[in-house]
């Protein structure tokens, strides 16, 4: 077996141990370690990706060479590698984008803790992506939750604490349900490895036994993960968590954490239950309905927001809605669209958060729209970046958002049942309009010059690109990434397709 | 293909445009002239106008009476040229238009001095003349429509000449009524274009029978719309309201030609549509004919009644126009040779008579500034010639034999009785008779009061001399209206020949 095949495992271990390592380092060093680790892992994932693409088939990596029923496995396919790569890139950029804010907002003794959390988060994400074992998945879900919570509350203020608590409660409920579902499956099949469970499930389907328990476990797991990834009715914690935690936390949370859960859900659908089984069960209808409602409601509450950060947070509620709607279509096309949106939304949303922070710099970190009037002139790059993100969110061609909109629409037209096609299309149109309303309103405000230089105590300041190199770099990269996704989406879509084929 | 037809069109138009431009730039550069310069300018203007007017009138008559000429100017659309052609009706119209126009023109040389803005007025006057000639020569429907609209636009400023607020309002009212009518006409034209073999005027109609059979309903509706539309110019109910508003405020020569000539273009348009495009056979006995007849009769009656109650002299004349034109329309609506004959006769006569009457009214205003009927007591003492010619004209209009009006009305009545139009056979003549009585009722009092004011009337102290330039054209017109009544045969024969070709 080739050396490359070890890399996934190594990357997980690496991130896992870089955490404790940074606990004994100072903030500065920890930062560099963390950045380095992420970069290295990104490189590894790239290698893995190229390897898997070249071989054209997924492979299994046994921990300590224990055979199937007992040992714990890692299973690497194209999709996993792609996700790992993108997560690394985006996480790195988020870290870079928020350096200054972190250093201001977190007291110095805690600086390195932050990086521990990030490392653990990365580790758990990678594990979620790669693992082939349901219980391992559960464990890492919990780790993920804990580290995410840490990221939220590390900036000390009432809001973040409250948000963290709410977040904990919600995700504990979710993981409780997930756990229960897993237990049911284990009870029914006697296995924990996804592939083995799938065989058993297939048998059960043919024999038709235990139909209801199987269904129950599917429902439990999907609902659990839906709750954790803040699908519409369960999003109460989200605006505060994203709106008041430090920038890179918000960016990472919104773009990666929830996506990890979603990806796990996809894996469960495809590799544990089998997608046709899921389709036959009515669970995806539920997801579909909640997804659409989420698309609309999220945008509506975003329109009512007066703080730019919270607005972006609400918009990601809407975006999560898109993704679940894609699941709900119940076709491979829909799934492809959702997965593409996972990526493009991750990129865009992180971009928006970082850009927003860049804008708020010009008004003494006030996130109120009134103070952002004309901010586009005060911080040019951030203004441009925000505009790009906004356009992509609205789905203007040549930005990534357009492609995912396109994929969703095509998928929905592909569905032959009117009951899904029309609602999807109409919902897409309406939510586009709503997005336009609140994002473009913001953009226009950004480019509305203000005569006076201060408003009730808040002094407007110019921000040059040089002042904050890391952020500028991150923004530029984000813009490039967004354009790349928008213009050269073909290969990525192809990869996703192959990955799904490997899954099934 | 000869351009003699174009000369009487373009000569006056260009001259008119030149004068308009001149007056406009005069205002823009806002140079104020000395008294005698002013005089010299007026002389020049009058001279130019007179020369151009006479020349073009002669040209027009030559063009008209030297055989069936025709000329295609250029193609407005692939199958629609701007095409002039002289035929019977056109010839007739051109003739009386030219005569009246020249006469009124000379009258207004004197009259306009107290109105001011003469350059503009005469410019418009010439322009409208050119357009009218073109309208009468027009050889197909679209050409006619083209000049019909132009006429509206060009004659509008004549109405608001004195620039007072009510004049402007009246002008706009005139414009919008005419536009409304014109567009109703256009509506019809669109449909006729689809269902006719050609839009070139051909006696007896060019309706494409095969197509028309299919969409009879919509076609009838379209024709009805056109009748009502062009009826607006001819002051037919329901679009007649502009006449009594526009005429009183316009300078008298303007109102003279307005109600003498321009309203006739509505009549011409109707003749063209009904007898040269749709063809009388298509309409005969349809609901459209009934509507048309009843509308015209209604207008006849209503017009004369309103005139009877109207104290302001020019308004009264305007109402009388409303009713008199509808005589013509009634004649046309009979769709018989007799009817058409009567209608054409009345067209000619009414042109002379009505312009004469308006010129009289103008004279009264010019000399003594009297606009209301009751002020005219004893006017006969001061302006005998004017009032005399007025009286003749009035008698002609009422239709006392042997004056001209009698003949035309006789023909109309005969036509009505001859036609096969149900109850209108007798209703028509009755209405005509009643309205004739009313006409007498509203025209003659002026004469009587004028000559025999009664002893209690305070004799007007200052007797001003009647101006030759004013009463002569008046006398000429009045005389014509008498003569044509006394020796009508040539005219009648000519008209009946035309009517014959149409059936």
């Amino acid at each position: 077996m080739a050396f490359v095949q070890n890399l996934p495992f190594i990357s997980i271990i690496l991130s896992l141990f870089s955490g404790p390592l940074s606990s004994i380092l100072g903030g500065k060093k920890a930062k560099w370690v963390n950045a380095g680790v992420i970069t290295v892992i990104g490189g590894m994932s790239a290698l893995v990706l190229s390897y898997v693409v070249s071989t054209g088939e997924e492979y299994v990596y046994r921990m300590g060479h224990f055979p199937a029923p007992w040992g714990n496995e890692i299973r690497v396919g194209v999709l996993e590698a792609v996700m790992a790569l993108f997560f690394c890139i985006i996480m790195l950029l988020c870290i870079l984008g928020g350096i200054r804010e972190r250093e201001n907002e977190i007291e110095d003794t805690k600086q390195n803790l932050y990086y521990i959390m990030v490392d653990l988060l990365l580790c758990s994400l990678l594990a979620l992506i790669y693992t082939n074992d349901l219980f391992t998945a559960y464990v890492f879900v919990e780790i993920n939750t804990i580290s995410a919570c840490g990221l939220i509350m590390i900036r000390q203020n009432g809001r973040t604490l409250e948000a963290a608590t709410r977040y904990m409660i919600m995700s504990l409920l979710g993981s409780g349900l997930l756990m229960l579902g897993i237990c049911f499956l284990y009870d029914l099949t006697g296995h924990l490895l996804m592939s083995n469970i799938k065989e058993q499930v297939a048998l059960l389907r043919t024999s038709g036994g235990y139909h209801i328990p199987l269904l129950v476990s599917v429902v439990l797991m999907s609902v659990g993960l839906a709750i954790k990834s803040a699908l519409f009715p369960f999003h109460s914690w989200l605006p505060d968590a994203y709106g008041y935690s430090t920038v890179s936390s918000a960016a990472i949370l919104s773009s990666l954490v929830s996506k990890g859960y979603i990806f796990l859900l996809v894996k469960i659908f495809y590799r544990v239950i089998g997608f046709d089984m899921v389709r036959d069960s009515k669970v995806i209808n539920v997801l579909f309905v909640f997804g659409i409602v989420g698309m609309i409601m999220g945008s509506v509450s975003a329109i009512r927001e007066s703080s730019i950060r919270r607005m972006i947070a609400y918009s990601s509620v809407a975006q999560i809605g898109y993704i679940y709607m894609g699941f709900g279509l119940g076709t491979t096309e829909g799934m492809v669209a959702s997965l593409y949106h996972v990526i493009s939304h991750a990129a865009t949303k992180a971009l928006l958060f970082v850009a927003a922070s860049g804008l708020t710099d010009t008004a003494a970190d006030s996130t109120d729209f009134k103070d952002l009037t004309g901010a586009g002139y005060r911080n040019k790059l951030a203004g441009v970046a925000f505009t790009v993100g906004a356009l992509s969110m609205v789905g203007i061609p040549m930005f990534s958002g357009f492609i995912s909109k396109l994929l969703f629409a095509q998928a929905s037209v592909g569905v032959d049942s009117m009951k899904r096609m029309l609602p999807t299309l109409i919902a897409l149109a309406i939510s586009t309009i709503l997005n336009a309303v609140y994002f473009m309103k913001t953009v226009i405000r950004l480019y509305t010059p203000v005569r006076r230089v201060k408003r009730d105590g808040i002094v407007f300041t110019q921000v040059k690109m040089k002042e904050n190199r890391a952020k500028s770099f991150a923004l530029v990269c984000f813009i490039a990434l967004n354009l790349f996704l928008g213009l050269f989406s073909e290969p990525i879509v192809m990869l996703i397709r192959n990955g799904l084929e490997m899954f099934a | 293909m000869d351009y003699l037809l174009l000369l009487p069109v373009f000569l006056p138009s260009l001259a008119g445009l030149y004068m308009l431009a001149a007056s406009f730039w005069g205002h823009v550069t806002a140079g104020s002239l000395e008294k005698q310069q002013e005089e010299g300018k007026r002389k020049r203007i009058h001279l130019l106008t007179a020369v151009v007017l006479v020349c073009s009138a002669i040209l027009a008559l030559c063009a008209a009476w030297s055989g069936d000429r025709s000329v295609t100017l250029f193609y407005l659309m692939k199958d629609i040229p701007v095409y002039f052609h002289v035929d019977g009706v056109g010839r007739l119209f051109v003739t009386f238009v030219s005569i009246v126009w020249v006469a009124v023109g000379f009258y207004s040389f004197v009259y306009m001095e107290h109105e001011g803005e003469e350059e503009r007025f005469f410019g418009l006057y010439l322009l409208v003349y050119g357009i009218l000639v073109a309208l009468d020569f027009a050889g197909n429907l679209v050409t006619m429509y083209l000049f019909y609209e132009l006429m509206t636009l060009a004659s509008m400023p004549m109405v608001l000449h004195n620039g007072s607020k009510e004049a402007i309002m009246a002008a706009l009212k005139y414009l919008f009524y005419s536009m409304c009518g014109a567009y109703l006409g256009l509506f019809g034209i669109f449909f006729l274009y689809q269902h006719c073999t050609t839009l070139t005027f051909t006696a007896g109609g060019t309706l494409n029978a095969a197509l028309a059979a299919g969409n009879r309903g919509i076609l009838l509706a379209a024709v009805c719309a056109m009748l009502i539309g062009f009826g607006a110019k001819a002051g037919m109910f329901p679009l007649h309201a502009w006449l009594p508003t526009a005429h009183p405020v316009a300078p008298s020569p303007a109102s003279a030609v307005l109600s003498g000539i321009i309203v006739k273009s509505g009549v011409l348009a109707m003749i063209r549509v009904v007898y040269y495009i749709v063809g009388p056979d298509f309409l005969r006995g349809t609901w459209v004919q009934t509507v048309w007849m009843s509308l015209s009769l209604l207008t006849v009656f209503m017009g004369s009644l309103l005139a009877f109650r109207e104290p302001v002299f020019k308004k009264r004349l305007a109402y009388s126009t409303v009713s008199q034109i509808s005589y013509i329309l009634f004649g046309l609506s009979l769709l018989t040779a007799g009817g058409v004959e009567g209608a054409l006769l009345h067209t000619v006569y009414h042109a002379f008579i009505k312009s004469a009457l308006f010129l009289t009214a103008g004279a009264f205003i010019f000399q003594y500034g009297k606009t209301r009927v009751e002020e005219l007591g004893g006017i006969g003492k001061q302006m005998p010639k004017t009032l005399l010619s007025y009286t003749f004209a009035a008698l002609a209009l009422i239709g006392i034999p042997p004056a001209s009006g009698f003949i035309s009305k006789w023909c109309l009545a005969q036509g009505a009785l001859g036609a096969d139009v149900g109850m209108f056979r007798w209703l028509g003549p009755v209405v005509l008779l009643i309205s004739a009585l009313l006409t007498a009722g509203y025209l003659l009092p002026v004469t009587m009061k004028g000559f025999f004011p009664g002893k209690d009337a305070a004799a007007e102290s200052s007797v001003r001399k009647e101006r030759l330039g004013m009463w002569l054209p008046l006398a000429v017109l009045a005389g014509l209206s008498l003569l044509l009544g006394v020796f009508p045969n040539s005219l009648i024969s000519y008209v009946s020949r035309i009517a014959g070709t149409l059936m």
């Binding site: 061609p397 037209v413 473009m440 | 007072s164 509506f187 689809q194």
Partner: protein
């Protein structure tokens, strides 16, 4: 002529525009020369290209699989491109003079020139995705032009414009998706590309989608109930209102509708269906509605904007007839209305520029003080009324001809609507002219001291437009023939 010209004429203005704020101009004149030069050059390129049409398509860029940004020159595109590239240089000339008193010109001209390229992009787009792409771009690049004055009003107007346009695009998007899915190809083919086999029993669905798509695109064409952004956008500087909101942007809306109707969905599918009646009813209503609003409006530019609303619906009416004749009518009005309306807007702009008066009742007696402007204005008014001899009559004639020929009862109503709106047009245009020329007997011209005609930069376009109006009105044959040849492809 090589197909590269197709993309050059699209990109050149964008590039030139983007450079404007970067290049350090010594004097204003230099900038003017640069801009006018760029625009003229591009127009010349376009015209030469139209004269020697390049064969084949040019694929600029591929999104995914069959989705690409590609250009091709065909009949319809030729018409639109010709109109745009003939008017743009004149409008630019005019705006040099006008923008003096508006401030930060560089930004203005930057977007003004870029818009040129984007509009051409719409005209030359080969497939529906490209068209959609440039349609969205158009929205974005014209936004700064509307909010140029940056007054509260302007900001509000630009917001409304943005919401309306993007919303419309969102629904147009649905239509595009269906074309991509159920069409044999995404390229525009005369007569439509829908694949009957794949369509199966979904006809009603497709009709519904067509209606959505029509409404979506008709937002830019300011059809009721999506029209209210246009009058609001009148706060923009007059060159913008004139060129964009009487020609480029709104005509782009009409143009895209022509594309989807005749080249994507196909008229054979739509003719005589409820879909056709629905859109036609909407359009007919708009024709009358726009005029009556114009009548009520006393702000000159807004009045003209409302009149634009109704005139655009003339074009759409021609489109919804769904016959080749209808297309001819629509195209002729697309061309002629461009001339008439830009002309009248420029007159209004001249008044505002010289005197800053905005309302109709402030114009008493201007006829003598600004003779050229108001004579031109009156002529354009006549043209809009459809006085024969001017171009307005020709397009009205063609539309009505098509409507009557289509033997469609609703179309007859449409003809009536055309004439009613013509009458209303007469009222709202003539009242202005009459005021201006006949202010009343006792009007004191002293009040208008200092009011005079603007300089040649503003007058030249006006004169040219008047000439054009007469030329088209008296000898429309060449144009109409060309349009007929375009429509002939529809079969």
């Amino acid at each position: 002529m090589s197909t590269y010209l197709l993309v050059i004429v699209v990109l050149l203005p964008m590039l030139a525009g983007a450079l404007i704020p970067i290049i350090p101009f010594k004097t204003r004149t230099q900038m003017m020369i640069y801009i006018e030069g760029a625009v003229l050059l591009n127009s010349v390129l376009v015209i030469s290209m139209l004269l020697m049409p390049p064969e084949g398509t040019l694929v600029l860029f591929r999104f995914t699989g069959n989705l690409s940004i590609s250009f091709r020159l065909d009949g319809l595109g030729t018409v639109f491109a010709a109109v745009v590239s003939l008017l743009w240089p004149l409008a630019t000339l005019y705006s040099f003079e006008y923008m003096k008193h508006e401030g930060h010109e560089k930004v203005f001209f930057m977007f003004y020139v870029i818009t040129f390229g984007v509009t051409l992009g719409i005209a030359l787009a080969e497939d529906i995705l490209t068209m959609y792409f440039f349609y969205e771009m158009l929205t974005l690049v014209t936004l700064p032009l509307i909010m140029h004055t940056l007054s509260k009003e302007a900001i509000m107007a630009s917001r409304t414009y943005l919401y309306y346009s993007l919303g419309g695009a969102a629904f147009a998007f649905i239509g595009m998706i269906f074309i991509l899915t159920y069409g044999t190809t995404s390229v525009f083919v005369p007569g439509g590309v829908l694949d009957a086999a794949r369509l199966g029993d979904k006809t009603n669905l497709i009709l519904l989608i067509y209606v959505l798509c029509f409404c979506g695109f008709s937002v830019k064409a300011a059809m009721w109930p999506f029209s209210s952004w246009l009058p609001k956008a009148g706060v923009a500087p007059t060159p913008v209102t004139a060129l964009l909101h009487a020609v480029a942007v709104v005509k782009a809306g009409a143009f895209t509708i022509m594309r989807v109707t005749y080249y994507s969905f196909g008229t054979d599918l739509l003719r005589g269906t409820w879909a056709q009646y629905t859109v036609m009813a909407l359009v007919i209503f708009t024709i009358v509605y726009g005029c009556s609003r114009a009548l009520k409006e006393t702000h000159i530019k807004r009045r003209l904007a409302w009149s634009t609303v109704s005139n655009l619906s003339y074009i759409l009416f021609g489109v919804t007839l769904m016959t080749p004749l209808g297309l001819v009518g629509a195209l002729s009005h697309l061309v002629f209305h461009a001339v008439m309306k830009i002309c009248s807007f420029f007159c209004a702009g001249a008044v505002i520029y010289k005197t800053g008066r905005n309302y109709v009742h402030e114009l008493d007696g201007f006829g003598r003080k600004m003779p050229v402007v108001f004579v031109v204005f009156t002529v354009s008014g006549f043209a809009l009324m459809g006085v024969p001899g001017l171009c307005g009559f020709i397009s009205k004639w063609n539309l009505a001809k098509a409507a009557v020929a289509s033997h469609n009862p609703l179309a007859y109503a449409g003809v009536a609507a055309l004439l009613i709106s013509a009458l209303l047009t007469a009222i709202y245009m003539m009242t202005i002219s009459v005021r201006a020329f006949f202010p009343g007997r006792d009007f004191d011209y002293g009040k208008l001291r200092g009011v005079e005609d603007p300089n040649w930069m503003m007058l030249l376009p006006l004169i040219l437009f008047v000439i054009a109006m007469f030329a088209f009105g008296l000898h429309p044959q060449p144009v109409i023939a060309a349009l007929e040849s375009v429509a002939a492809l529809m079969g």
